[in-house]
Symmetry: C2
């Protein structure tokens, strides 16, 4: 990997070939002014290549002379070899600025799990197997019924006992046996109980034992993902995700429940989620070349409300104190009967929930990440509108859900947007000039701020003293970017002429308040759970972050604002879509289906709204990073030191 | 009970008040000429009341003088008190006639079984129970899911473990709980395995524990019977039977299978049997005031073909060697899903079959009669077009089906009819004049001969030497009633002017041949089974006869023709509709459902057509009563003695 050295800082960073120079600077903790999102429009990110060369970087924003002298625009330069780059110093920077403690970008490493892990941990036990059988045909000596013949053969030859036969198999067995000259493949579905029955789920002519598939699905409030799995190899053959058609009935579960309570609402919502599910299934089956009759099981993970709506169960008591769902453990059901467009025999299996707000998606994550089998005391957190928290290990678990509000998904933020093209996702600031460096998704003109961007912006502004620990702007700073508009204080991230929306994009104090409330809800949830079991943050061995949003969070920034507890970031890992992972692992491993019942029983749920200490913890969390700075000793130390340096520089300038 | 003494015979008999005098004579073994079926038309049954008086008996067939002298028509006289009656002797009867060994009518006593028997034998275990529960409502301290609340309560309060919850219960639980203020009644369905799961089948608001019903059904080839049972008391609340609408597609199972193989045949036959079933269910529910939602289970017993057609399973291999059914053990199924018009949650349970021709109807009889729990070595025989035979006791059982042909149901008999109004059902003959005494169902003008009548007629003609042991008429008897018509010998039972069909009703030699083949098939079936297990007739402790037809058979006559083996008739009992009884007992006793799986495994089936000794036994049975008279020592002795006496009388007359 090529090395990039930044002058006058002297900081060095290694980056992948092809990384833009401005990203390399960000990774090194080096600020370069840039407010157009990185597509060469503003021309502010002029840098001088002093050794080596970059790919591109030339623009009409640069004069012929500058280009000849080695100036390039950092945002459109690609690193291909070792280089030394000088950042033009536009104001007289005190050497001290270079002593500011950088917080290089740290994303959580991805916790990868595959069949090999499961095999190593002794939990590889396919829940559905296919067996090719050559039965002896009926004779005068043995004219037992077709079903009896099959069952007896499996007993004698494969020691399969406690067999039960699905009615769909009974319906076609006599035809299939004779068409195939008594050479058939049967699909055996294992019970989730060790002493339970094995069901003969399907019978097919000839040898189809190499065609045994399952579908894993994450039924999310926003998005529905599906995967086709080869049950023989564990391979994912196709994957696809789409917006849940229920989105047009309300963005969050509460709105969906409200809608479900009216007239035909439940029926409509049920149809909507089925439509998306069937669309996703259609796509992935087509892509993988698997026919629906070859799919033995579909395993679905969703939060409690989503699962209720999928099963057309009345969700109304989920949103009413004391928050009672209809059901947490869902029986295996015929997929077709539920309206899922799969084979006659396909079984639908649902991950169980713990409570109204800790659902099958979280349980899936706990199972799929194997937290439930390991010693390490883990904080598992799925960050979203509703954040779910699980703390525990193989011996015990507690869990809770916190209503974080939609700030992480751009809701309640003036210029908040989802993580789409043009969303500001990263940010840096010149602590003296307050000029920003703005990164957008797709390097296009900025259109707003997404969740991970918001965290980074607020953390950075806090680090350099632009906002205080209550999230209020320092009114004394001399820059047009910090201003009061209609009585609201704000920081201008992007001027109208550089933005993609022809307006100034700003971060306002109410936006910061919303973020603080969101992170406060999650952090105080963790604190409350820990306190209830007599532990503290220091007892945690690791953190696992789940949820689509989690992969984009900068860990140091998240710790800086007090969203995550202060911890060695190498102990924080990212699971990705834990719900889908759990559905997949549960499709591949019957042991997980066996274990999950006990795990769910083990998970003690706390209704935070009913837990007295929660409100106290919550209020204490409504600061950056927290009222009790002893919880964030390193952040505290860094901020203090940085502020001192910045203060000195600013004094020097005056 | 009033006594009737017949002169000059001196025989006495006790009868129920209201019995007709002619029936009393029959019961006493006293012959009175009567050929009009017992409705006073022919006027031949003149008798003189010498002591006491009868009700009725006066007709225009009697002169004023005769009436004054005490003459009455026996067929229209009712016995109400002790009487002495003289039969007018129209020919000079030798005293010897009175020494003829009478064979008084002996119907099998009915084997009655009820819940008390089951309780005594320790097999009372309701398969479906209702429990009224007052659940604690949800609270902040316990906001577990509705289903969890219910399951936990049953665990703690009633020690109910291994519970599973039907999806229909999950669907409505939250509504029902809240409507009923958490006071509800649940229906618990026990597993057929002792260590199996108990299913929560239904949940209803309030206390409905006194409303717990089941339906038992016999799905017969010809007739479908249903009963509504109160599961709390075991009482039958309503019963109804109707012709199986499949009758219009063929009278026997072979014709039905042939039809099922064509085009939409299977679908049509399935719909036909469902139509009748639903009609019967509608009637009995209405009569009993039970709603379909109050019915927890419907238990159905039918032969293998009927069960296949009910479940829309292809029956084609049942009729093809080596006679393989699709399935013998049927899983519990949702009744509604099968097209049965009952509640959403009603479970349909089918009695298992043993083989293609020993079906759930026979298994039901074996279970319902408790043969499978007792020591006595029993011959269980269900007589019909297909006769099924089971031999065994609690330790072992063998079974077989014989194709008896339709003779017992009037088929293949020139004047054969079903057991309907006007069918000749009993018969006696004057051994000297050959004049008959004819009884019809409903005492109306004769229209033909039903199965039980046929047995009695042939047995009686054989006893008095009108036919020989090959079933051929004695050509030397001097009576217009025995004649040759178009080369066929026959006996005129009823002259045209007294018949209800304006033709002579006769019994022909080919009719006798058919009966001999039918009885030969059954008897040789028994012999073959006994031989296969190394036993003889003498080892049998008892005989149980099942089937609608069985209750009308005169046991002595059936032994005389060799349909039943010679045995003390007190050891022969009649079970009635064994199929319906078994379905009922299985509805009331889960122990039976548990035991039946083992019983079916225990029942060794013999395909008689594949058993070499069967044909030999069959040919030996094509005599009256049998080639080997040592098998019928008493019949043999009686016939010999009677023939001697009759011969003497006839000689005396010449």
């Amino acid at each position: 990997m090529p090395k990039v050295k930044f002058l006058p800082h002297g900081r060095e960073v290694e980056v992948e070939k092809g990384t833009s120079l401005i990203r390399a600077a960000l990774n090194a903790g080096v600020h370069i002014n840039a407010s157009c999102g990185g597509n060469g429009v503003c021309g502010k990110c002029r840098v001088k290549i002093e050794q080596g060369a970059v790919e591109g970087g030339v623009s009409e924003r640069l004069s012929k002379e500058d280009i000849d002298k080695g100036y390039r625009l950092a945002c459109i330069s690609e690193v291909t070899e070792d280089i030394v780059v000088r950042i033009p110093v536009e104001s007289e920077l005190d050497e001290s600025v270079l002593n500011l403690q950088a917080s290089p970008r740290k994303r959580a490493k991805i916790k990868q799990l595959d069949l090999i892990d499961f095999k190593e941990k002794g939990v590889f036990l396919p829940p559905v197997e296919k067996r090719y059988l050559e039965l002896p045909p009926p004779s005068h000596e043995d004219n037992s019924a077709d079903v009896t013949r099959l069952v007896n053969f499996l007993k004698l030859k494969y020691n399969e006992h406690r067999l039960e036969v699905d009615f769909s198999v009974i319906k076609k067995i006599s035809k299939v046996l004779r068409e195939a000259d008594f050479k058939v493949t049967v699909t055996l579905q294992r019970s989730i109980r060790e002493d339970g029955k094995t069901k003969i789920l399907n019978i097919e002519p000839g040898d189809t034992s190499n065609r045994n598939f399952a579908i894993a699905m994450d039924i999310g409030t926003t998005t529905i993902y599906g995967q086709v799995l080869d049950l023989n190899t564990g391979e994912v053959l196709a994957e696809y995700g789409d917006f849940n058609a229920q989105m047009s009935y309300g963005e969050d579960v509460i709105n969906r429940i409200v809608y479900a309570e009216k007239g035909n609402g439940l029926k409509e919502l049920n149809q909507a989620v089925l439509n998306t599910t069937n669309k996703v299934i259609g796509k992935i089956l087509k892509e993988s070349g698997v026919s629906k009759d070859e799919v033995s099981t579909i395993t679905l993970a969703g939060n409690t409300t989503m699962t209720h709506l999928f099963l057309k169960l009345d969700p109304r008591y989920i949103r009413r104190s004391p928050y009672v769902p209809t059901c947490n453990l869902y029986p295996p059901l015929n997929a077709k009967m539920l309206g899922i467009d799969l084979g006659e025999h396909t079984v639908a299996l649902f991950l169980p929930s713990v409570s109204s707000y800790v659902g099958g998606d979280i349980v899936a994550g706990i199972m799929g990440s194997l937290v439930y089998k390991e010693d390490e005391l883990t904080l598992y957190v799925d960050i979203g509108t509703n954040a779910e928290i699980v703390i525990g290990n193989k011996d015990w678990m507690v869990c809770a859900a916190c209503s974080a509000g939609p700030a992480f998904e751009g809701g309640g933020i003036k210029f908040g947007v989802r993580a789409e093209k043009g969303a500001i996702e990263d940010f840096s600031i010149d602590p003296i000039t307050f000029e920003p460096m703005v990164f957008t998704i797709g390097n296009s003109r900025p259109i707003g701020i997404c969740g991970s961007g918001l965290i980074t912006i607020v953390a950075t502004l806090f680090e350099v003293g632009v906002i205080d620990n209550r999230g209020k702007f320092n009114r004394d700073l001399n820059t047009p970017r910090i201003r009061e508009q209609d009585g609201v204080w704000e920081y201008v991230l992007v001027w109208a002429e550089e933005s993609g929306i022809e307006r100034d994009i700003t971060l306002q104090e109410p936006d910061i308040d919303n973020l603080i409330r969101a992170k406060g809800a999650i952090y105080s949830g963790c604190m409350t759970l820990l306190k209830e079991v007599g532990l503290t943050i220091n007892d945690l061995d690791r953190i696992i972050i789940a949820g689509g949003f989690g992969s984009y969070i900068d860990l140091e920034k998240a710790i800086t604002i007090g969203l995550l507890p202060e911890m060695d970031t190498s102990k924080i890992s990212y699971l990705g879509n834990g719900s889908l992972l759990g559905a997949k692992m549960s499709s591949l491993n019957n042991q997980i289906r066996r274990d999950v019942v006990e795990v769910v029983k083990k998970m003690t749920n706390f209704e935070l709204s009913e837990t007295p200490s929660y409100m106290e913890n919550y209020v204490a969390s409504l600061f950056l990073p927290h009222t009790d700075m002893n919880l964030f000793p390193k952040v505290s130390q860094r901020i203090k030191e940085n502020r001192r340096i910045i203060e000195q520089i600013r004094k020097g300038q005056r």
